[in-house]
């Protein structure tokens, strides 16, 4: 048995595989001791990874790249041995924009007023997908709107207080805003880039090198947990688990709806860490001036499908090339 592996996560629906693996003893069954550390912010996860207070985390791929490139905080060697989820985010706009959006789309709404839109982090899938969608609709994300950063749990309150006009966040926050009558889902992230990769597992490279057996046990447990999360008949149980005060602290029926992949919720399979996914994020970071060109090399080195296959993960499927602009 290796040392305890500390894994960081935020209170989000797509942290389901690590929560399920922990609660159902899957880590122990694969011979690894894992301590889950629920963190209040992505910055905490990045800093704790950077200073060795976490071995790994449920991570945003662009943030993993930013950490590995030293673009925020301490430069940290990381590996991404598996993907944990796909899809699951939504661009939600304030209810008062509904008619304008229905009539003239996001371009019409943005022309009438400079929108203030929130994302969960400056280096996030949410930010890059929102920018891609805005640009595809001829809205300049740097000039025609203001993109700000808010914690996911605060976006709904900010929408209620009129501090923002909309947000792009993961499940279940779009559903929560809709349920409260404060906003409506303008576009699901899967309709910006069909089956886009969302969260990944990021590990410190020195941990992967020091404890390969521990890493393999961790990957096997999460492969099993991902399959369990993807099973439709397990959704109600999963929702009940995530609804607990330790995690999302929200009504279970609301989470169950948010977990439905047919309604834009997260997909927990496939988990293959496709380097072409990293490449897309790196290219988008370059496009918006968020990273220097060497980010392409950083992304290429980060993804380690060899670890995933060694742990018995299923073979690769090609990258989805279905985008909102064709």
């Amino acid at each position: 048995m290796s040392d305890v592996i500390r894994l960081g996560l935020l209170r989000l629906c797509d942290a389901a595989p690590v929560i399920l693996a922990d609660r159902q003893g899957m880590f122990a069954a694969h011979g690894v001791g894992v301590e889950l550390c629920v963190e209040p912010s992505w910055a905490n996860i990045a800093d704790k990874l950077g200073y060795g207070l976490l071995e790994g985390a449920v991570m945003l791929p662009p943030l993993a790249m930013a950490c590995a490139a030293g673009l925020r905080g301490r430069k940290t060697e990381l590996v991404v041995p598996m993907s944990l989820s796909a899809n699951g985010n939504a661009v939600t706009l304030a209810t008062r924009l509904r008619e304008g959006f229905a009539a003239a789309g996001i371009a019409g709404v943005a022309a009438a007023k400079k929108l203030r839109l929130a994302v969960v982090h400056g280096y996030s899938t949410h930010d890059l997908l929102l920018r891609y969608w805005l640009a595809a609709n001829s809205v300049d994300p740097d000039r025609a709107v203001e993109i700000t950063v808010l914690p996911p749990a605060e976006v709904v309150g900010s929408l209620a207080a009129d501090a923002i006009d909309g947000f792009c966040a993961g499940a279940p926050w779009g559903q929560v805003a809709e349920h409260a009558g404060l906003g409506f889902v303008a576009v699901q992230s899967r309709d910006i880039w069909r089956d886009h990769p969302e969260k990944c597992l990021a590990l410190r490279a020195d941990f992967a090198a020091r404890d390969p057996a521990g890493m393999m046990g961790l990957l096997r447990a999460l492969i099993a947990a991902g399959a369990a999360c993807a099973a439709p008949d397990g959704r109600a149980g999963l929702a009940a688990l995530l609804a607990a005060p330790d995690y999302l602290d929200l009504p279970a029926h609301l989470i169950e709806g948010a977990l439905d992949p047919d309604a834009g919720g997260p997909l927990f399979a496939p988990q293959y860490p496709l380097p072409a996914h990293g490449e897309w994020f790196a290219e988008q970071m370059l496009r918006w001036g968020k990273a220097p060109p060497r980010i392409l090399d950083v992304a290429a080195a980060l993804y380690r499908p060899d670890f995933f296959t060694a742990a018995g993960g299923a073979a690769a499927v090609a990258r989805s090339e279905v985008f909102c602009d064709g």
Partner: protein
């Protein structure tokens, strides 16, 4: 040097700013107000350095100040001290993080961060002690309840009930409180108000 203190624990923030003020006249301490968003506070105060309570979820906003403000030419650089990772590790373990907005020299940052760490560690220790004290009270009540049960249901004397629990604890190599809890559980008295 303008220092923004972002701590939702108002007492700790006030104590920390008083301490920093006493340390150096040149420090101007600004507090993040009540519900104010961290990013908005940074824009309002334009500080040289930000001391942040790591439990704040809106700390993510600071990671992108550099990006967001590129047009306003306000460089925000996270405090990175690669010469001294242990120092940063200790700061993070204490629950405090810092960002320097302009190019503040490291020798100026360290004493500020060290003072903050001391305050954060002290409040951590206090909450641990409080939790420990509560645990002890619960444990004592549990043993008392188990003894009362043995005295009323099994007609034991107080010393006999105590010996009974103690002997079982020794035999099973468990703590007396665990034996008491197991007994209460077995007889359906857990959480019935007499604990």
């Amino acid at each position: 040097m303008k220092i923004l203190v972002a701590d939702r624990d108002g007492n700790r923030a006030a104590a920390l700013s008083a301490q920093l003020q006493a340390q150096d006249d040149a420090f101007a301490i600004i507090l993040v107000q009540g519900d104010e968003n961290l990013l908005d506070a940074v824009r309002r105060a334009a500080p040289d350095m930000v001391i942040v309570d790591m439990a704040r979820p809106d700390r993510d906003g600071l990671d992108s100040v550099r990006i967001l403000s590129a047009a306003q030419a306000m460089p925000v650089v996270m405090f990175v001290d690669d010469d001294d990772p242990e120092f940063m590790e200790a700061a993070i373990a204490a629950g405090v993080s810092s960002y320097h907005v302009y190019d503040v020299a490291l020798p100026a940052i360290k004493p500020v961060l060290r003072t903050a760490m001391a305050f954060f560690k002290r409040s951590q220790a206090m909450s641990t002690r409080l939790a420990e004290a509560e645990e002890q009270i619960t444990a004592r009540r549990m043993v008392e309840a188990a003894k009362r049960l043995l005295m009323t249901e099994d007609k034991m004397s107080e010393p006999a009930a105590h010996r009974f629990l103690q002997r079982r604890a020794m035999d099973q190599q468990k703590k007396i409180v665990e034996i008491a809890a197991a007994l209460l559980q077995a007889r359906g008295k857990m959480g019935s108000g007499n604990v």
